[in-house]
Subunit: 498 residues, 2 copies
Amino acid sequence: MDAEHFRDFGKAAVDYIADYHESLRNRSVLPNVQPGYLGELLPEDPPQSGESWQDILQDVDKFIMPGLTHWQSPNFHAYYPTASSFPSIVGELIIAGFGMVGLSWIASPAMTELEVVMMNWLGRMLELPEEFLNCSEGPGGGVIQGSASEATYVALLTAKEKKVKDLLEKNSNLTEAEIKGKLVAYSSDQSNSSVEKSGLLGSMKMRLLPTNKEGQLTGATLQEAIKRDKEAGLIPCYVVANLGTTPTCAFDNLEELGPVCNREDVWLHVDAAYAGTAFVCPEYRYLMKGVEMSDSFNVNLHKWMLVNFDCSAMWIKNAKYLVEAFNVERIYLKDQHKGLAPEYRHWQISLGRRFRALKVWFVLRIYGVEGVRKHVRHQIALAQYFAELVAKDQRFECCSCSMGLVTFRLKGENSLTETLLNRLTEEKKFFLIAGHFNNTYVIRYAICSRLTEKEDVDRSWNEIIRIAGNIVPWKITEKEGLPGLNINHLNENIEKSK
Amino acid sequence: MDAEHFRDFGKAAVDYIADYHESLRNRSVLPNVQPGYLGELLPEDPPQSGESWQDILQDVDKFIMPGLTHWQSPNFHAYYPTASSFPSIVGELIIAGFGMVGLSWIASPAMTELEVVMMNWLGRMLELPEEFLNCSEGPGGGVIQGSASEATYVALLTAKEKKVKDLLEKNSNLTEAEIKGKLVAYSSDQSNSSVEKSGLLGSMKMRLLPTNKEGQLTGATLQEAIKRDKEAGLIPCYVVANLGTTPTCAFDNLEELGPVCNREDVWLHVDAAYAGTAFVCPEYRYLMKGVEMSDSFNVNLHKWMLVNFDCSAMWIKNAKYLVEAFNVERIYLKDQHKGLAPEYRHWQISLGRRFRALKVWFVLRIYGVEGVRKHVRHQIALAQYFAELVAKDQRFECCSCSMGLVTFRLKGENSLTETLLNRLTEEKKFFLIAGHFNNTYVIRYAICSRLTEKEDVDRSWNEIIRIAGNIVPWKITEKEGLPGLNINHLNENIEKSK
C-alpha cells in the first residue's frame, strides 16, 4: 500500500469513525454474539496474497461491529468511563503515523520533551504539590504509564527495593531474601483488583483492610494492622490509598493515612485512577487533602480526562528510587543526557514507549482547562440527577452517589436487584454492572460516555422502573429525595455545565 | 469538537502523515535539538480555553517535527526496525475510534475473539508447534503483549510461581520465601537489557552466561552453570534463549538448550523479538529447530512484521500456569465464559487492554503472507549487499551479517571506529549506533525502514567511506568479499524481492 492509497483508506476510516460516533445512540450497547462466534466466520489461515482495503473496511462492519460492546454509547454505564475524544483519536493517528519508539532521549527527543511539559501542565491543573513535578528543583517527576495497574505495580516494586536497601544499609541481621519474605503491603477491601494483583506479581503480602460504612480506609485501621504485623516480625512496606474506589468511588482519608505512613516509613501510593481528574475543579480538591504526604500519585487520563486508552499519569516525589530500582544500561542505550532530560525507560517496566504525550497535548489544547472542567461537572450533575430519580422512588434505595457513579438497589432481598440487572442486561440496550456495598448486592450506574445527556439518563431510568414494575409491583408514592439534592437545582447544574 | 470538525481534522492529519512519509528520504534522520528545547518553546501552563485544530497541526510541524528522530526514514539504521505500515496506521486510527478497553470477554467480545484468530493465523505462518496455538486441544495459547520486555517478564513470573508451587507440593523443607530467594534465571551476555531487567523486577538472580565466538549460548555452558548453582544449593528456574540477539542477531541453539531445560525442569522462554518474523519464510525455520522444547515464545510484530508499535505476539505451551499465577477475581469482572474464550486479563500485567488484534488483521490481509515474506527477504538481501560492500573494502572488517543486521569496524584500534561513528552521527544524515562484539567496538547497521532501497544503502556506504578516508587515508585495493556472497547475485536477490 503506497501513500496515495493510504490517503483514500485513511480518509474513509475517518468517515467510518465519525459515522460510528453519530450512530452510537441508536445501537444496542451490548452485542448479541456467543463465545467463539468470530472463529466460525473468519478463515483458519491468513490470505496468501494481499486484499483491497475496501474489502477489509466492509468486513470490519460485517464481522467486528456486531461483536463490539459500545463503550462510547450514551447508554453505557458499566465499570468507569474509558475516555474518548476526537482530538485524542487524531492524536493516536499521528502517533502511529510517526512510527517511533521512545527507548531513550535521542530515540526521539520530542517524545521525552513533550511528556515532561505535559506532566507539568497536568500537575498544575490538578494542583499537585510542586515537588512532584519535573519542573521542580528536587528529584520529583511525572511519567506516562499504560495503566493504573502498571503505576501501582511500579510503585510497589520501587517501595520494595527502597525498603530492602534501607534495611541492608542499616546492617539488618536479615538477608535480602529474608527481608523480601517479610514485606507487607496494605490497601482497602474496596480497592481495584489490580492492587491485589500487584502484590501477587511482586511477591508481597497484600492485606485488604476493612473499610468504614462509607467504604473508606481509616488511619486507625491502617495503624492497627501495621502494629500487628510488626509484632509478628513482619515489615510494613507499601500502602495503596484509593481516591475513588471502584465499587462506590469512595475516598480514603489521606490526612489520616499520610501521617501513619510517614511515621512508619512506609511508601504511600495514591490510586486516583478515575476520580483524580475531578481535581481539575477547585471545588473537589479538598478530597485529596494530605496528598503531600504521599510518595506517588496516579490518575488515568484515559478514564475521565478525554484522552484515549492507554494513558495513565503518574508522579513520584523522589524519582531517584525508581530509576535506581529499574536501571539496566547497555552500550546501545548509552545515555548522554544524564540530568538534563529524564530517561523514561528507567521509570517503567518495558524498554519501549509510545508517544502518548502527543494526544494529551491535543486534548488539553482543544478542550482547554475550562473544557475539561465542564466535562467533569456535567457528568457529576447527570449522576446526581440519576441519584435523585432513584431516591425519590420508594421501591429503591440509593446506596451511594460520588462523582459520576451512583449505586442503588431494590429494597428487600438481593435477589430482586439481581433479577432487575439480569433482565436489563438481557435487553442489551443499556449496560450496567453489579457491585457489592456493605454486604448487599447493588447495581452500579456510572456516567461514562462523553455523549450522555439528561434525556439519555431519563431513558435508562424509565427502562429500569418499567422492569422493576414487573418485579416489585408496589404502588408508587413519591418520597423525599436525597438530602441536599433537588431536581430543579440539578436541572440548572446540567444546563450550566453543557 | 464535534464529528464534523473531526472529519476535517482527521483527513488533514491523514494527508499530513502521507506527506511526511513521502518526505522522509530528504530529511536529516537525527534532529538538531538540545535537551530541554521544548520546555523553552511551549507555555508553562495549558490554555484555559480551547484552541483550533488548525493551530495545533501547525504547531506539530513547528515544535514537534524538529525534535523527531525519523525511525521510518530509509537512512535510519540504528537499533532494530520499528515496524510501520499504512494498513497498521489506519488500524490504530480505528482502534482509537472505537475507544474500548478489553478487560473481559463481554467488555467487547470481538476484541478477544479476533485476538484468538490472529494468534492462530500467526502461529501457523511461523509454523510454531500446534500445541502452542489457541486452536489446539490442549492448554496452549497465544496472546498479544505490549513488548518483548513484558513477555519476558510475564514468563519469568509464571516460571517462578510454577516452581514455588511444584516445590511446596513436593513437601520441600523450604518456606516459600526461602525458595524464592534461591531461584536463578539464565540468559546469555548477548541478550537484550530487558532480560536483565526482568530478573531485577522479578527479584530473581539473572546470570548472563558467556557465549561462543558466534555470540551463541551453548547447551554445555548452560548445563555447567546449572550444575554449579545446584551444588551451591540454588534452584534453577528460568532460561531466556535468544533467537536473534540485539548486538549481532545471533541465534542460540535451541536443540542444545531445550534438552537441558526439560531435564532440569527449567522454564524455557524464547525471545525472538526481531528475528522471529523471518520464520514466515520456510528457508529460515531451521534456526528455530527445537522450539517444541520451549515453554513460551515471543516475537514482536512491531519490529519486523509491519505492525505498528506496540504489538508483541506471545505463545505459551501451558497457559494454565500463567492464568493461575495472575488471576484475581472481582464481582465486576465476573467471568461467565470460562473455557469458551480466554480472559486475557489473566495473561498479562495490566487489567485493561487495547484492540491490537485489529491492526494485525489489517496488515496480514493487505500484505498477505507473500507480502510479509517479500518484505523480510528484501531487507535481508539489502543487508547482505551492505555486508559485501564492507567486506570488499580492505580498510574494513565485516564482523557479522545476520538477517537485516550487519556489524563492521575499521581495522585497527577501536578508537578509529569510534571516531567514524561520531563523525557520521554529527552529520545527522544517517543514524547508526555502536555495539560490542568479541570485545571489540563495532558499528551496527540495521536495515530498518520499509522504504530503504539499494540506492539508500549505496548512499550511506558512500558517506561512510568518505569519512573513513579522512580517518585512515590508506590506498584502497578491492579485496575478496564474504564467502558465498557475490554482488551480481545479491543484486538479483534485491530485484526479486521488490
